[in-house]
């Protein structure tokens, strides 16, 4: 017997479709499902230890001081501004200085780490060559052999090993890596015109001077003109300014937002127009063997600079020490310090104090010292949160275009790309460490901070690997280790009014010629040069006062 019509037309189509879908589904499953594809990646969230800082929220719970030390000058905070202040005091002959730092390391966000493959940054990772008028900074660089001498014209000669090696930058856009970060490959002509027009505009700002003859933009920014023609730009957002100027190209706007994220951890809507332009117009460095765009960088990033500063300032440095109370006395000031390791507290009596901690810490510390108005103004300092990942890879899948550079950016993605930490190492290493920078700039900082606190290592890793895979198909298997650092308050956000408004002016003011202030957030811009400058400024005030 035979069964007639085992397959009529409808059945045939049904079964053909079923067969096809089963095969396609199986193929798809084989193509995508690789089990837990991140399971082989070692690592975790390695810092910072936010517990110590959070003790400040309830200082009464901290053990009361049981001993006392005295010093001429107490520096609170061992970031770049604190180290710079101590170095300057030392140069000026004041050596009875004690520096206390809350974290277990000095250098603040110029922090770095090291594994078997490379040293790598945990934060800031380069400086552009400085303006030749910035003599203090150049002297420091010369002391550390970053500047090896000066030519007949007086231009600094930079150490070849410390200038960023070629190839410097690439951008993954339209399916390939192009040279440079300004979008070019596959970008329409009218967009290129807008990019050109914008660059011409900022070139003019770079050369511009105010009515008082001072530069419209420079580093340190306290040296810029008071001319309102430029300072008024601080009152509007960068995005408003760009819209007014008719800049609409999505490629240009992506690039400018990338720049705001990169330097400030902000987006176009939260950055002031003055700060947005400053990024492009402030770099005026000259060198015998370098250009204004030349940057100085090291495998450990600015950990190199903080390490050298630390080495210069020598003794009387205490880390893991939390200052939880500051009071004025007849002879100066007194600080209550909690020793995190010993779990005991002591008092430091000082003739003068330089507070080199950020204002979000100072608002706790100064509660009983400053006026309510001044305290309220500290609340208005806003800080951008960041996630930094150091990713050890054993090889890198190659895509079309430029090979691996120092700075590698992926167009249209949340991060600002990654740095090859091995780049400045002349050694030909197969394994590399990539330092991945993710500013949490898509939401308001407080919201982003809350969310970041509740995000697990696995969730961050998922997000980071997905972005890397986009530009390096297959990189997941090459990742051996990925460590994360979550900077809840990564850098000061130059929101409109921050740089040239009243809050910043007020926060710099010393109290009774006893308590002085230095931190890059007092410049409104979180860069090494500003922190270095702030430290020297405060040290001069201490010595001159």
């Amino acid at each position: 017997m035979h069964i007639k019509g085992v397959l009529n037309r409808r059945d045939f189509i049904r079964y053909a479709l079923t067969g096809t879908s089963v095969l396609l589904a199986a193929t798809y499953a084989a193509c995508t499902a690789e089990g837990n594809r991140l399971a082989h990646i070692k690592g975790g969230i390695v810092g910072p230890d936010s517990g110590t800082g959070h003790l400040l929220r309830n200082p009464d719970a901290i053990p009361a001081p049981t001993s006392k030390v005295t010093t001429d000058v107490l520096i609170i905070g061992g970031g770049i501004s604190g180290l710079s202040a101590k170095r300057w005091l030392q140069k000026s002959g004041q050596t009875n200085v004690l520096l206390v730092e809350m974290a277990d390391h000095f250098g603040g966000n110029a922090h770095s780490g090291r594994n078997a493959v490379s040293a790598y940054p945990w934060g800031a990772h380069y400086i552009p060559i400085p303006d030749i008028r910035n003599k203090e900074l150049l002297d420091f660089l010369a002391e550390e052999n970053v500047v090896t001498g000066y030519d007949q014209l007086g231009l600094p000669i930079y150490n070849d090993y410390y200038m960023c090696h070629d190839p410097e930058e690439r951008l993954f856009i339209n399916g390939m890596w192009q040279e440079g970060i300004i979008p070019n490959s596959g970008v329409p002509e009218q967009d290129k015109q807008q990019i050109k027009a914008f660059l011409a505009l900022v070139a003019a700002f770079k050369a511009a001077k105010g009515k008082d003859g001072k530069d419209a933009f420079c580093i340190p920014l306290d040296n810029t003109t008071e001319d309102d023609e430029y300072r008024k730009l601080d009152k509007m957002t960068f995005s408003t300014y760009l819209a007014e100027k008719g800049f609409t190209s999505p490629y240009l706007l992506w690039y400018l937002e990338y720049c705001c994220k990169d330097d400030y951890g902000c987006n176009l809507e939260s950055t002031s127009a003055w700060a947005g332009i400053h990024y492009f117009a402030c770099r005026k460095g000259k060198g015998a063997n370098a250009e204004a765009s030349t940057v100085l960088t090291w495998p450990e990033g600015n950990g190199f600079l903080s390490g050298r500063l630390r080495a210069q300032v020598g003794d009387n440095m205490r880390s893991s020490q939390l200052v939880f109370k500051l009071t004025q006395t007849a002879t100066g000031a007194e600080a209550s310090v909690y020793d995190v390791g010993k779990k005991t507290s002591y008092t430091v009596a000082a003739k003068k104090v330089i507070v080199c901690s950020p204002q979000f810490v100072n608002k706790h510390l100064l509660r009983n010292i400053i006026t309510p108005e001044r305290l309220a103004s500290l609340e208005r300092f806003s800080y951008a949160p960041w996630v930094i990942a150091n990713i050890t890879i054993n090889s890198l899948p190659v895509k079309r275009g430029m090979p691996l550079c120092w700075d590698n950016v992926i167009y249209g993605k949340p991060s600002v790309g990654y740095i090859n930490a091995n780049h400045q190492d002349v050694n030909n290493s197969l394994k590399k460490v990539l330092t991945f920078y993710l500013p949490l700039s898509s939401e308001a900082p407080t919201l982003a901070r809350t969310k970041a606190r509740d995000t697990s290592y696995a969730q961050w890793l998922e997000q980071i690997v997905e972005e890397l895979e986009y530009a390096h198909n297959g990189i997941t298997e090459c990742i051996e280790q990925a460590d994360l650092w979550i900077w809840a308050h990564g850098m000061i956000a130059p929101t409109p009014g921050m740089i040239w408004g009243a809050d910043r002016r007020a926060a710099v003011e010393p109290i009774d010629n006893t308590i002085f202030f230095a931190h890059s957030d007092l410049s409104g811009v979180s860069i090494f040069e500003e922190a270095f400058y702030q430290g020297i400024r405060a040290a001069r005030e201490v010595m001159g006062g």
Partner: protein
């Protein structure tokens, strides 16, 4: 009532069985075409000439299917058992085809024999499948329905295979994993048939065990497919490949014909045994004849030991230090009899110290003074090698060079890489050396360039040369110094760590010659 029910149940069951068999036709057809496509792609990839490869592979495959169909008439007895047996075999042979062919490529005398062997066996087995299946089904179908259904599924499966192969499989799975995956599918069909048909009960266990072992092996290969791929990644060479090995740093391939031995690193020719003496005599002797008192020599790169062979012709030398990144390379040239014959066992000489580390790293940490430094690096085709041609690097070399010492740098072709060559010259000058550029003709390379550099312009072409040189004598040295107009000096920038202009020059100079 009961009766009818059972009957209709039986009918449904039976029809389901047939649908199952037809679906297996579909899978079989897809798998069959995939194996054919894999063989064609793999052959084009490994042997080149894709039209030829695809054409012959399709031909052989179809022919073998014909052979299989013809053979099917000799198959009798338990057809279902035969069918399952064939499924398993197709799965094994087809599934293994890509990994085996990739791995075997460099190790078998005739790769084509193996390739066409695989294609034929797969073809025969696939050719057997459909006739056997039709015979299993023939009692339950009208002939016209049977032929129509079987071939429809066969061809639809073919279309599906031809679409997913280039669009999904090759880009996402790669050849090895695709091959294993479809072998896997064949096995799955066998397993389903085994457990769906009562008549298979007798041999079910044995087959299941066998299939499980195969599936385990396949899974292992699937997971390690990247390792297999790396191990076997190959390129086409003109001559017979007699040795090939991938080290973490490079892929070394040695080819041989009846006239010469050739070494390729990452596909770039390093030397031919027929004329390497010209290259290495020119690299060593113009400098060494001017250094009668030299005792200490540093060779950077040059892991083949051929430059060292020339150096050891000077008995006054006490030590030769050779720094080469790749231990795989120096080990090969210490142990392989064909190669030690070529370099006269130079790397085993007691005067010679071989150090395997990054040259830049090593010189930065060393402070020995050398009478002669030879930089015999690969051409500056990428940024990592470009660093070894920078002014900063030459500054470090100047620190290690005796005041009356000489530095010699292999500097690519002054004819093809004219700007690259003069860029090396200008860069060495910028590092405070006096330079004497020269060049030699090496047939397998073409016109080749070197820079000789000193701290005090002390070089003279008056010294004694060892006996037995085949290319260099004082007349040759004099000739080598003359640059005809088409290789004459051109202005260039200085190669530095922060501009790497040499890599750009090199790319532009050699771009038109790259295929």
């Amino acid at each position: 009532m009961e009766q009818t029910d059972r009957k209709s149940n039986g009918g449904r069951k039976e029809s389901r069985m047939h649908i199952l068999l037809l679906l297996s036709v579909f899978v079989i057809a897809t798998c069959g075409l995939i194996y054919e496509l894999i063989a064609g792609t793999l052959a084009s990839y490994l042997l080149g000439d894709s039209i030829m490869q695809f054409s012959t592979i399709i031909g052989v495959y179809l022919f073998s299917m014909g052979v299989g169909s013809w053979l099917s008439k000799y198959i009798d007895g338990d057809l279902m058992r035969w069918f399952i047996r064939i499924e398993v075999l197709v799965g094994v042979v087809g599934g293994c085809s890509a990994p085996v062919l990739f791995v075997a490529f460099e190790h078998v005398a005739s790769f084509r024999l193996l390739l066409y062997g695989f294609v034929s066996i797969t073809g025969v087995l696939v050719g057997l499948e459909i006739p056997v299946l039709m015979r299993i089904l023939k009692n339950n179908y009208a002939f016209k329905d049977l032929v129509s259904d079987v071939f429809t599924f066969d061809y639809v499966g073919g279309l599906l295979a031809s679409l997913i192969f280039p669009l999904l499989l090759v880009p996402y799975l790669g050849l090895i994993r695709t091959s294993l995956f479809f072998g896997f599918l064949n096995m799955v069909v066998a397993v389903i048939l085994l457990y769906r048909f009562k008549e298979t009960a007798a041999y079910r266990k044995g087959y299941t065990a066998m299939i499980s072992v195969c599936l385990l092996l396949f899974t292992a290969c699937f997971l390690y497919s990247n390792k297999i791929m790396n191990y076997s990644e190959s390129m086409t060479f003109q001559d017979n490949v007699i040795y090939s090995k991938s080290t973490p740093y490079q892929r070394m391939v040695i080819t041989k014909n009846n006239r010469e031995l050739r070494l390729f690193l990452n596909g770039n020719l390093q030397f031919s045994s027929a004329d390497e003496y010209r290259y290495h005599e020119a690299l060593v002797h113009p400098a060494m004849q001017a250094l009668p008192k030299a005792t200490r020599v540093l060779v950077l790169g040059g892991g083949d030991g051929l430059a060292v062979r020339e150096l050891l012709k000077y008995p006054q030398l006490k030590t030769v230090t050779l720094v080469d990144l790749d231990p795989g390379m120096t080990q090969l040239f210490k142990t392989n009899p064909m190669l030690t014959e070529l370099n006269k066992g130079s790397l085993l000489n007691p005067k010679v110290t071989v150090i395997n580390t990054d040259a830049y790293q090593w010189i930065r940490n060393d402070s020995t003074k050398f009478n002669l430094i030879i930089a015999d690096f690969p051409d500056p085709s990428n940024y990592s090698i470009g660093k070894l041609y920078t002014a900063t690097f030459y500054n470090e070399l100047r620190r290690l060079l005796d005041d009356n010492g000489i530095l010699v740098v292999q500097s690519t072709s002054p004819y093809i890489g004219r700007r690259s060559f003069w860029c090396v010259d200008h860069t060495i000058t910028a590092a405070g050396f006096f330079t004497i550029p020269y060049h030699a003709y090496v047939p397998s390379f073409g016109e080749w360039g070197y820079i000789l550099a000193t701290k005090n312009y002390s070089w003279k072409n008056e010294g004694a040369l060892p006996a037995g040189l085949r290319y260099v004598n004082s007349g040759t040295i004099k000739d080598m110094l003359y640059f005809p107009p088409d290789m004459a000096e051109v202005p260039t920038d200085i190669n530095k760590l922060n501009n790497q202009v040499l890599v750009h020059y090199f790319e532009n100079d050699w771009g038109p010659y790259a295929h």
